[in-house]
Amino acid sequence: MFVHEYQAKNLLSRYGFSFPSGEVAFSADEAEVAASRIDADYWVVKAQILAGDRGQFGGVKVARTRAEVTTLARTLLGSRLVTPQTGAAGLTVKSVYIEQGCDTDREMYLALLLDRYRRELILLAAASGGSGIETKIDDSAQPVHRLAVSVDAPPDQDNLAELARQMNLDEFLASEFVEMCQQMHQALVELDALSIELNPLAVVGGTKLVGLDVKMELDDNALYRHEQYAELLSLNQESDRRLRAQSGYNYVSLHGDIGLLVGGAGLALATMDLLKLNGLEPANFLDLPPIASRSNVSDACETVVQNDSIKALFVNVVGGGLTHCDTVAEGLITAHMKSKIKKPIIVRFAGTKKEHGLTLLRNSRIPFEMANTMQDAVELLMKIR
């Protein structure tokens, strides 16, 4: 999961990183108090949403006075911010981060992340930072320097010094840079983070490296060894219905009119592709947990049909593992009895306990429409539309 900027800064500050002083606020009143506590010539009010490109799309504002902080916070809080990374519906701003304004001499880019290809860590550094850095990675005019780093040991001093040289840092800043890279490594390993990105990483007052913005992703699989993450999860979950994600679902909301309930991520992706290939648009995408119980399925079904724009629900399950078609059938029947789903439900079963599942559906007297293959299901969906 990605965490908010203020959460990332909190988690990272104990590793010795330097950030402008700041406080999070969930209301205009809190923003006012925060501003009164932060000594600065000017302040930056930053919308806390779990998506990038906030700056270019109105999510980061500069306040010249403390009163202006409160006004800006009031405007941002509760508003919906749309950036290229949020989807068309945007994300609601639930909190703002009030930060000390900070003049920079120079802005760079520094990130440590998992290199999925090499299955190791990689340090990325560029002499100039800012948004859109992802697209510049292959741009030779502005090289992004790469340094392979092991998980087991901190990055080598000499290699880091060389990297600092490539970044055109003077001797003093170079030693600070080397130290920062080592802190980043320690933080990533200890926090079970998948990526830490300082962008921009600024030179302030000629002698100091300050992280102006941070993006950090934590490994969902490692939540069990970090008790403090449960709180972050509960604070952040409303965006994209993280609540559901927490109970084992992977739910993604999209913009079409077919609700999709599928067992397994790969099949879910493929089902979405099949719909689009036939001119149908999924409204959402819910991947059942690997061990799906009747109540899981029932909750999942209700989550998917909650969306008013849905014309039909397509349940595509190939039973295997601990997801069996009969359990899915029981869950669908339960959901139907609980919330009287009015929309047509197309069910395609295959694999483990297919026949038993189909029998349960038939005996329920609920008008499920059964399809033998994905293609048959799509044809039924096209008729409904």
């Binding site: 689009k276 290939l277 295997g320 295959a350």
Partner: protein, 293 residues
């Protein structure tokens, strides 16, 4: 023949006495030659027990020594799964199939580092396992949809593998071996490894590969096929229509910064002579066509 496993393979289950391990081991016992194939269980502290006629040992090394099993399948919960793989590697098993989903990335990187120089093959984690139809099933896939034959299947996703197998079987095309390599970003065997084994297997006539958005494994595989493969390969890449930046289930299935998109993978694969369909319901049909050509 087949790849990786056959009716003579001897298997131990790590995490045998847990709910998941026991459930799936029982299903595997009931499949084809399962009763002679599954010879040991491993659960630390439970050595000496006998479950469903299978002796349980405290360690992998002991299970190997006592029963001659050279393959293990792991159902151990995520916090302990990395260590379970390490133990199997240290015991010099030939093949370790890790079904466990949800192992922290850091643990898997450490485990992979420890595997450097080892001859043990790791399949998974977060995978459905491996099946050689009508001989042996090691994993959680529904056995009955498979049929013995000559199509090799390799996929990152479990349920998508079942989908492909079902299409093939309905068309009368049996499978030599089906391998689920798992959806995690840091895993053992990659597409290209499995394709290489299929290419060397005289019983495999054609290969089906199912990929997904994210990473560059499918592209690497395409380049290997172009240079080396003597057998026709059909491919499907899931996630053509996935919105960028959204995590679509598998940790691997995420598009970041324009890399690993389905479009890019499909174009590389086609350039490399791989037959690619964009219709997930038409994978079986593509294989039929390919074999006719």
């Amino acid at each position: 023949m087949s790849i990786l496993i056959n009716r003579d393979t001897r298997v131990m289950t790590q995490g045998m006495t847990g709910k998941t391990g026991l459930f799936h081991t029982r299903n595997c016992l009931d499949y084809a030659s399962g009763k002679s194939a599954f010879v040991a269980g491993v659960t630390p502290g439970k050595g000496g027990q006998v479950v469903d006629g299978i002796p349980v040992y405290d360690t992998v090394a002991e299970a190997k020594e006592q029963t001659g099993a050279t393959v293990s399948v792991i159902y151990v919960p995520p916090p302990f799964a990395g260590a379970a793989i390490d133990e199997a590697v240290e015991a010099k098993l030939d093949l370790v199939i890790c079904i466990t989903e949800g192992i922290p990335v850091k643990d898997m990187i450490e485990t992979r580092n420890k595997m450097a120089g080892s001859k043990t093959i790791l399949v998974g984690p977060n995978c459905p396992g491996v099946i050689t139809p009508e001989e042996i099933k090691i994993g959680i896939m529904p056995g009955y949809i498979h049929k013995k034959g000559s199509i090799g299947v390799v996929s990152r996703s479990g349920t998508l593998t079942y989908e492909v197998v079902e299409q093939l079987t309905k068309l009368g095309l049996g499978q030599s071996t089906c391998v689920g390599i798992g959806g995690d970003p840091v895993n053992g065997t990659k597409h290209v490894d499995v394709i290489r084994w299929f290419n060397d297997d005289p019983e495999t006539e054609a290969i089906v590969m199912c990929g997904e958005i994210g990473g560059t494994d499918e592209e690497d595989c395409g380049r290997w096929i172009k240079e080396n493969s003597t057998k026709p390969v059909a491919a499907f890449i899931a996630g053509v229509t996935a919105p960028p930046g959204k995590r679509m289930g598998h940790a691997g299935a995420i598009i970041a910064g324009g890399k690993g998109t389905a479009a890019e993978k499909i174009s590389v694969l086609r350039e490399c002579g791989v037959q690619v369909t964009e219709n997930p319901a038409g994978i079986g049909d593509l294989v039929v066509e390919m074999l006719r050509a």
